[in-house]
Amino acid sequence: MVSRLTRRTALMALAGAMVARHAFATTDQAKDWLASHAKGAPKDGKVTVKAPEIAENGNAVPLTVSVDSEMSEKSYVKAIYIAADGNPNPGLAVFEFTPQSGKAEVSLRVRLQQTEKIIAVAEMNDGTLYTASREVKVTIGGCGG
């Protein structure tokens, strides 16, 4: 019997090859990356992730992460960990603060490959973790290739 190369099998093979070429991080990998930095179960709240709903250019997506904290010696945000679930690597950045920071907020620009979710975890000085996330729709991806 002759094996037939139909349009369907050809398309499926092509789709498979494309998936294999672009190995992007998944939500689980983003969570694993965050968990490798901040041990424990984060609660919702206190953290705000600000980013545009639609980013036309994934090369430089403005992102602001802030955490509600008095930033005193007694109670302050020790670190903010930021990941995304659709880039080649899940990590975006880590920021460590001290009470000298005055306010736990950072702004930066990041590359997003596709429409994906940005997840931030904040670690307080007593070890409690808080989290928030935001999805950004990306028109043109920004990781080269």
Binding site: A84, N87, P88, N89, L92, V94, F97, K103, L108, G144
Partner: protein, 108 residues
């Protein structure tokens, strides 16, 4: 790479106890290691992977950046000014090359 220059925007003075916003940018291509050049070869990863900020020698912010941070990494953050002093920035890249900049803040 000689064209790498840090840029700062720091208020020259603040009231005692005031929390001020500090903006920084360093011109750097932030090669992810995933991009291919015109010949189809992968361009090796070379990014600024950290920024350390101190005020009068005390830590204010330590940033660890991943390749997902855009080229010419821009960062804005805050500083509580309790006394006059010097805000010092040190960026380091994957080759352990580093760039520093500082800015003085008066207390009015």
């Amino acid at each position: 790479m000689d064209d790498i220059k840090p840029r700062l925007r720091v208020p020259p003075s603040a009231k005692k106890g005031e929390v001020i916003e500090v903006k920084t940018l360093i011109t750097h291509p932030m090669e992810t290691g995933l991009r291919k050049d015109a010949d189809g070869k992968l361009v090796p990863r070379l990014i600024v992977n950290s920024l350390a900020v101190t005020y009068n020698g005390k830590a204010v912010l330590n940033a660890r950046l991943e390749p997902a941070v855009s080229a010419n990494p821009y960062l804005a953050f805050f500083l509580k000014v309790d006394e006059p002093g010097t805000l010092k920035f040190t960026w380091t890249d994957d080759n352990k090359q580093s760039w520093s900049a500082e800015s003085k803040i008066e207390v009015a």
